[in-house]
Amino acid sequence: MKQGVREEKPTVFFAREVHQITLVLGKFLQKSRAETVLLVDSAGHLVARQGHTSPASEDTITALVAGTYAASQAMAQMLGAREFSSLVPCGEGRNLMILRAGDHALLAVTFTDESSDTLIRTYALDVIRRLEGLYARPDATGSPGEKIERKEFDKGIDGALDGVFG
């Protein structure tokens, strides 16, 4: 059986890393004038967020972000492309952009007409470079006590997906 999105091994982020990531995301929001930015691991778990409060359960939002991204990657693979980013218009001039952030995470950005997709993409690529720098740092480790354990989220998110799709 093929490995599905929900079956991927959970990525572990340490509290110190999450703090640094949150700072990077905050800077991104200031520069790009986006509304919200979420960093989601490829299995659909929220790693960090900045900006407005999500309009629904964050677990549901992140699971749907990961689902949309997984479908776009499957499409890219079939078409022989390296990767796809996705742009979802959300009405009233609001858009959601989903991009890959390194090997293990996704960036989901909501923005309005105040900004533009080109601007968002440009700043997002800068954020992704910074995040990759953080992942690659040799001191990017922490004590076991600092680990943000995410396995317990799996049940909750699977339940949220069931709630969405019935």
Binding site: S54, P55, A56, T60, I61, L64, V65, G67, T68, A70, A71, S72, A74, M75, A76, M78, L79, A81, R82, E83, F84, S85, S86, L87, V88, P89, C90, G91, E92, R94, L96, T110, V164, F165
Partner: protein
């Protein structure tokens, strides 16, 4: 359309190319040069396709070129052919001054035709110039990026037309004689659906146009043969769209939203059809993605009119 509205070229391109499917190729070319000449208030407009030194179509709205004596008309034709060749060779926008003997040519155009500006735009598709559009203007015009992109979009349409010939014939097997009126009506609807897909493929020069129902069941496809199963692709498109639509719903969208997946060289646009089917278009780098979106949405609206047939249609 006012001449000062340079950005309006998109509307002009849309209006012109939307007609492309209703008229023969030669007439489309004539309408194209006449439309461009009128939009830019040009003395003359010519389009070259391929390596022919003779223009594929020419507009001369005030009869200025026609009024030249034979020797000067031949000289004008030579200048036009030189510009077209120069643009086709390197795919870069040229003016009369860029040609060998540029100043003399500019003086000739000003003296005999009262032309002060000449712009030859390359028609580029897939990285290669295959023709040009030349505008001969009586005075300066503030060309914007939108003008260049709009003219490039025409290039995509012309390329598709010149390479596919009769692009709009509904492809497939020869129609079977149907005895029942109901079946004949059903077949006619299917043909119309196929024609909409053919037209969209032609206008956008897309790789593939796919129609599927919102549950991911494959309905119809036009375009290149692919290495993968269309049924599998349809399932993935529908699942991605379902997740994106629900996501958009949480942020306030009220249905009818499109979804765009963009890669380095290719993009996939998915547009809902009557909330029950999906129209998916896979295209390569295109000069005017906004036009592709508009064409696809127009096609989706037309397909929605045939929705009842779509629910049962299975056309290959």
């Amino acid at each position: 359309m006012g001449r000062g509205e340079a950005g309006d070229v998109y509307r002009l391109v849309f209006e012109l190319t939307a007609r492309a499917t209703d008229v023969p190729y030669e007439r489309f070319l004539d309408e194209l040069v006449e439309g461009l000449a009128a939009h830019y208030h040009a003395r003359a407009c010519r389009v070259h396709v391929g390596k022919e030194s003779r223009a594929a179509a020419a507009a001369d709205p005030e009869g200025t070129v026609k009024g030249l004596d034979p020797a000067n008309r031949a000289r004008f034709d030579t200048i036009d052919a030189m510009l077209a060749e120069a643009v086709r060779n390197d795919g870069v926008l040229r003016t009369a001054l860029d040609l060998e003997g540029g100043e003399e040519i500019v003086n000739f155009l000003a003296r005999e035709l009262e032309i002060s500006e000449t712009f030859a735009f390359p028609l580029i598709t897939r990285g290669k110039a295959f023709g040009s559009i030349t505008l001969y203007l009586p005075d300066g015009y503030p060309f914007e990026e939108a003008d260049v992109r709009g003219l490039q979009a025409i290039g995509n349409v012309l390329y598709a037309a010149s390479n596919r010939g009769d692009a709009f014939g509904v492809t497939g097997t020869r129609p079977v004689a149907l005895s029942s009126d109901k079946l004949r009506a059903y077949q006619a609807t299917l043909d119309r659906v196929g024609k909409v897909l053919d037209e969209l493929l032609f206008l956008t020069d897309a790789k593939t146009v796919l129609l599927l129902d919102s549950h991911g069941d494959f309905i119809a496809k036009r375009g290149e043969e692919s290495m993968f199963s269309s049924t599998d692709f349809a399932t993935i498109v529908a699942s991605g769209f379902a997740a994106a639509r629900r996501l958009a719903g949480f942020y306030g969208a009220e249905g009818g939203q499109s979804l765009l997946h963009e890669g380095d060289n290719e993009a996939v646009l998915v547009v809902p059809v009557a909330a029950r089917a999906l129209l998916c278009i896979v295209y390569r780098d295109h000069a005017a993605p906004a036009l592709i979106a508009r064409w696809t949405e127009t096609a989706a609206t037309r397909l929605a009119e045939h929705y009842h047939a779509l629910t049962e249609a299975r056309i290959l």
